[in-house]
Amino acid sequence: MHASGALEAKDYKSDLKPIWCPGCGDFGVLSALYRALANIGRSPHEIAFVSGIGCSSRIPGYTTAYGFNSVHGRALPIAQGIKLANPDLLVLVAGGDGDGFSIGGGHVPHAIRRNIDITYIVMDNQIYGLTKGQLSPTSPRGTHTVTSPEGSLEDPVNPLLYVLGYGAHFVAQSTPADQIGLTAVIEEAIRFPGFAFVNVQSPCVTFGDPNQQLKAHKEGLKSLAKINYDPSHRVKAMALAQTYGKDLYTGVFYRNPNPPPTFDSLVRERQRHMAPQAMPREKILDTFLPH
């Protein structure tokens, strides 16, 4: 902690040493996250950080927040349970493209349509890293992997379009190659009142195609802040999201200027409204009468 009492990036750093491969993009996500959290200034014990399984899903263990290391693909349901049971917590979710868009893909629409106030960071390396290089739902068509030795035959999921299509109110993309930009979008996503999604193009240097994913993109890295893009239109954002896999636009794709109330706040309202309807004990029976 700083002498002034302000929290610093290192206050969010646990003493567990990351076991990612040297050069893995996830290191850059972690350092941007430390900085974003320090900027926000919530104490680690007020943060619950949930993940599934994957290289990327190790990230909660490297922070001093409460960590939930769960099962492959199930981080979002757990995070929603946490937010509803303990709404005072800042709830973060992170994981891989496989965790979020194949095995756990069915949970994403429902977390979005409820608009629960959680931040979901996908570390999109377009490969299954932990299990050593199989085809992922975001691998571009034609990708050669150990399970697609002749090149894959299917189109990838477009994570940006996916979440925009289901109605997410905050959608951003960035890359660890742009630390300042990545820190800024993570911070903004966390501050956003409602479900916020950040797709991080975080290359897997061991099994992925970092050249395809990042080096090529470095030349074509396009900061939305620099092109005078207005992120307040969903349909425009969806048009821009079509560039996924071709150009690497970074920044906020969509931010609803008038976000609706969050599910968690509506739940509290419902509780206040229904509390007077609770039967006195002697009338419990009435609750169970057929309507």
């Binding site: 646990s14 003493d15 567990l16 104490s43 680690p44 014990h45 007020e46 943060i47 619950a48 950080f49 949930v50 909660p60 263990g61 922070t63 001093t64 927040a65 409460y66 960590g67 939930f68 290391n69 769960s70 099962v71 199930r74 979002l76 349901p77 757990i78 995070a79 929603q80 349970g81 946490i82 937010k83 509803l84 049971a85 303990n86 005072d88 917590l89 069915g106 949970h107 429902h110 739940v267 419902r270 509780q271 409204h273 229904m274 509390a275 309807q277 609770a278 039967m279 004990r281 002697e282 419990i284 029976l285 609750t287 169970f288």
Partner: protein, 356 residues
């Protein structure tokens, strides 16, 4: 307040859960457990809790995992099929020592193996309680929340179509249960402590790298649970030549059939396991010690009979007198759940006409 009110077993479980302090529920509709979800959607918000009509059983168990991890008493209910979908999370949250209460309103009694052996991976166990009446369902639900917190281990209530849908008189006396320590492990946001990782690899300040040690630590409590948490009812055992073992709602039918057999002069007794895990091995073994045979009535192809055999250890013959039995819908009561039929089967085994 009237001493007792008339309600279905499902309603009794819901009200008992509310009284036990349950404040989070998530579920997905499936007969015959849907009533619990419907009633929870009324009762939870009334008492400041949350009920989620989840997108699937997989999402529901994830939500319950998260809420229980925050230290909030949390429940989930389903039927065997939905319970099948939850198994991966069951196994992992048990290893992460998250206390939840899961209700399985089975179709028939076909889910005994699923409940007591678990369909998930690894060495985890659920404490399993099998009520036979709505009143017992209410009492065991309150106990279930206590046991879950006491042992930091999931507890399952195993019921069936009849328990769920039969209306009976129930009262809700506050049970006398010991005080439990505060949940220092929970994701509560309490100040002055570091974050904790709630993970199958040990809820510690950081992820353990010694997987074997972490899992051994979690499973060490199993033997204590076995010695402390056995619950069983029995009757007419003193001079019983035949002992009938049955659990859950059918256990009531067996009890009645045994009474009728006694009236007809047959020396028959019964054992009704209330905890299916830990199984009342000693009660079954000592009942069998003075008997000629043990008969097992269960509405499946023969599942609990394995625990009975493991208790009796071959000292007397163990005979199955139940079987798979459903109505045309597959949910409800089949022809074998009939006191006359059970009595006839008891008579056959008793008279030695049925050889094991």
């Amino acid at each position: 307040m009237p001493e007792r009110v008339l309600m279905e077993g499902s309603a009794a479980i819901v009200e008992a859960a509310v009284q036990a302090g349950c404040r989070f529920y998530a579920g997905y509709p499936i007969t015959p457990s849907t009533e619990i979800l419907e009633l929870m959607s009324v009762r939870m918000p009334q008492v400041g809790g949350t009920c989620m009509n989840a997108e699937s059983e997989i999402e529901a168990i994830g939500m319950v995992w998260g809420a229980a991890g925050c230290g909030v008493r949390s429940m989930i209910a389903s039927t065997g099929q939905g319970i099948s979908l939850m198994q991966e999370s069951f196994a992992e949250l048990a290893n992460a020592q998250i206390p939840i209460v899961a209700v399985n309103m089975c179709r028939g009694q076909g889910d005994y193996f699923q409940a007591t052996r678990g369909g998930g991976h690894g060495d985890y166990r659920f404490i399993v309680l099998a009520p036979s009446t709505a009143q017992e369902a209410a009492d065991l639900t309150q106990l279930a929340f206590h046991l879950a917190d006491k042992w930091r281990n999931p507890v399952m209530i195993m019921g069936d179509f009849l328990l769920s849908h039969t209306s009976e008189m129930v009262s809700f006396a506050a049970p006398a249960l010991a005080e439990l320590p505060p949940k220092e492990w929970a994701v509560t946001g309490a100040k002055g402590r570091r974050g904790i990782t709630l993970s199958p690899l040990g809820p510690s300040e950081k992820l353990s790298t010694d997987v074997a040690a972490a899992l051994a630590n979690v499973t060490a409590k199993h033997s204590a649970i076995v010695s402390e948490e056995v619950r069983v009812e029995h009757g007419f055992l003193e001079d019983a030549e035949l002992v009938v073992v049955a659990f859950g709602f059918p256990g009531r039918f067996v009890k009645y059939a045994v009474r009728l057999a006694r009236e007809r002069g047959l020396r028959v007794g019964y054992v009704r396991p209330i905890s299916l895990w830990p199984f009342p091995r000693h009660a079954v073994a000592s009942a069998a010690a003075t008997a000629r045979a043990v008969a097992v009535f269960e509405l499946n192809a023969g599942q609990m009979i394995e625990d009975v055999q493991l208790s009796v250890l071959g000292r007397v013959p163990v005979v199955a007198i139940g079987g798979i039995s459903h109505d045309h819908s597959g949910f409800g009561v089949g022809p074998l759940l009939n006191v006359e039929h059970i009595l006839k089967r008891i008579g056959q085994v008793y008279s030695g006409k049925e050889d094991p």
